[in-house]
């Protein structure tokens, strides 16, 4: 079982990454329970991929490290995605990663369980989860976990965050476990499944 964590935090260490790690710590063992070995967790720090993400837009293709990250995302059983709040929304880097992913493989997230989370300086932005992240991942046809987790600075010293992390992590784990027993989605390969040319011609012929 493979869990990919996408963290768009910029500082090192970052509260975005801290939140991501706490979510993964709950989801990884729960996804494979009662097996003792937790899901394999891999963290993608978008900061490390920032230049290749930008180049994807100027070049039209993803560089090596980013291609490898996209393959990891496509092959994951579930994702935890965490962004800092910038200007009342997800960060540009966070959005750009998923824009570049969509250009490379439009079906990468289709049917995949995704836990959305965000970190911000104030609780006033907590609806960013439902007004920005949830529609984005709906567009990408992901299965978005019901509980999203927002952590404002003050939450790190207050009650409640633990409980939300626990609930969200377990919801993700349940979806991942459920999916892993189902048939995995076949990856579409346009090179393997080329439409025979006669079919294309026939589709354009006038009726009658």
């Amino acid at each position: 079982m493979r869990l990919i964590v996408v963290s768009a935090g910029l500082s090192v260490p970052s509260s975005t990454r801290l939140l991501a790690d706490r979510l993964a710590a709950v989801a990884a063992p729960a996804a494979t329970a009662p097996e003792p070995a937790p899901a394999d967790v891999r963290v993608l720090e978008l900061r490390d991929l920032a230049v290749e993400i930008a180049h994807t837009f100027t070049n039209g293709f993803a560089g090596r490290a980013l291609s490898e990250a996209f393959e990891a995302v496509s092959g994951a059983d579930g994702l935890i995605v965490v962004t800092p709040v910038f200007s009342g929304s997800y960060s540009g880097l966070f959005k750009s990663f998923f824009d570049a992913l969509g250009v490379t493989d439009p079906d990468a997230l289709a049917g995949k369980p995704v836990l959305i989370a965000a970190a911000g300086g104030t609780a006033r932005h907590s609806l960013v989860l439902d007004h920005a992240l949830r529609p984005l991942f709906s567009y990408l046809r992901a299965v978005v976990v019901p509980t999203g987790v927002y952590a404002a600075s003050e939450d790190w010293g207050a009650e409640g965050l633990d409980g939300r992390v626990e609930r969200a992590g377990k919801e993700l784990a349940a979806l991942m476990a459920g999916q892993s027993t189902a048939r995995p989605l076949p990856r579409r390969d346009t090179f393997e499944e080329v439409t025979p040319f006669e079919e294309r011609l026939a589709a354009l012929r006038p009726a009658g």
Binding site: H55, T58, F61, L201
Partner: protein, 376 residues
């Protein structure tokens, strides 16, 4: 194997001087590049087609007709002819006309065009790009092979009893390449007709080009035109050379760094590592170009993009000299070495005429009409 030049026809300021050539200067420069290509012993000149600034070549057969009158051997081609937004009837007539004027030194490359607004300017819709390429080319293919065409389709007004004039030179349609960077549908189309497939090979990493070419080769064989190794493949590539590779890098970097297509992205070093761009000595260009065979197989046509990034004409002409003197003679020799006997050369008017004569004797036209009629 054929070697040549292809030009996009962009008007780009020279970043080292800040000067932008006029449209007239750029158009004349493209002609000078074509003439130089023949002088340097190259085989092909291909022009782009665009209908939006900052590009000048909107009327390829006008330019190629002019070049035809001033050259003797050069094959005149396109990279690409817009099969989506041009009327296939006009393409059939323009290029048949050019064939007669150029004594058969003509082929062309079909492309879709990726600029959304151009489509509505010509009454089309980019979302129908593949379908337009499929239907328009099916009609074009018939117009060159059947003297009288009745036709009805989705995108164009119907034709009843239509004859495209002039008829192709010697009854032999120009050879057609289909160019596509990322659409397997177009590789499939090229394979279906037994036409050539061209990958511009410019911005994309080798493994992508490899997959496109492999698909085309496999489908070419599937449709019974020959073995996969006999399919007709062309590749692009862009270079900047100086005798000393350090000089090449030093001179090209200011162009690369701000070029509309390369600039403000990865470094020159990263870009040359991941794409076919070569900036260095003629020997480095030779080595990189020979490596294309590793992933595309033995192929038929190599086109170089040299007039990029706002380089001045004088520099571009020097590049063509280097290509003709130091690179292409070695490439001809090296590509010929170990080339399997069954790998054909790129079709020319002469070879197609000879093949048509052998295949059909005097019955060719009638039979082709019948076969094409049945297919449509």
């Amino acid at each position: 194997m054929q070697f040549g030049i292809f030009s996009v026809g962009d008007v780009t300021p020279d970043p080292t001087t800040g000067r932008t050539p006029t449209e007239r200067e750029r158009i004349k420069a493209m002609v000078a590049i074509a003439l130089k290509a023949e002088e340097a012993g190259l085989d092909v000149f291909a022009t782009g087609e665009h209908h939006n600034p900052p590009f000048v070549p909107s009327s390829p057969t006008t330019m190629l007709g002019y070049v035809a009158a001033r050259t003797e051997r050069l094959i005149l081609s396109t990279a690409t002819t817009l099969i989506t937004t041009n009327d296939p009837v006009k393409i059939a007539e323009d290029f048949a006309m050019l064939q007669h004027l150029a004594d058969g030194r003509v082929d062309l490359m079909m492309g879709r065009g990726n600029t959304g607004p151009v489509y509505p300017w010509f009454g089309q819709d980019i979302r129908q790009g593949i379908n337009l390429a499929v239907e328009n080319y099916a009609l074009l293919h018939r117009l060159w092979r059947e003297d009288v065409v009745d036709w009805e389709g989705r995108f164009r007004t119907p034709l009843q009893g239509f004859t495209a004039t002039p008829r192709p030179l010697d009854g032999v349609p120009p050879f057609v390449w289909h160019g596509s960077i990322r659409s397997p549908e177009i590789a499939e189309q090229a394979a279906y007709y037994g036409d050539g497939f061209f990958h511009n090979n410019i911005f994309w990493p080798a493994d992508h080009t490899k997959r496109m070419v492999e698909l085309y080769r496999a489908r070419y064989a599937h449709y019974g035109h020959g073995t996969p190794e006999q399919a007709i493949v062309g590749l692009g590539g862009q270079v900047f050379m100086r005798k000393n590779s350090q000089d090449a890098v030093r001179e090209f970097r200011p162009y690369f760094d701000v070029a509309p297509v390369y600039g403000h992205g990865p470094s020159l070093e990263e870009f040359t590592e991941q794409t076919p761009l070569t900036v260095g000595s003629p020997q480095q260009v030779i080595e990189k170009t020979l490596s294309f065979r590793d992933y595309a197989g033995d192929y038929q046509r190599q086109l170089f993009l040299l007039d990029h990034a706002g380089l001045p004409l004088k520099t571009v002409l020097e590049q063509i000299d280097l290509l003709g003197e130091e690179v292409v003679p070695v490439l001809r020799e090296e590509f010929a070495r170990n080339r399997p006997a069954g790998v054909p050369d790129a079709p020319t008017h002469g070879s197609l005429l000879a093949a048509a004569g052998q295949r059909d004797g005097g019955q060719k036209d009638a039979r082709d009409s019948k076969r094409e009629g049945a297919r449509a």
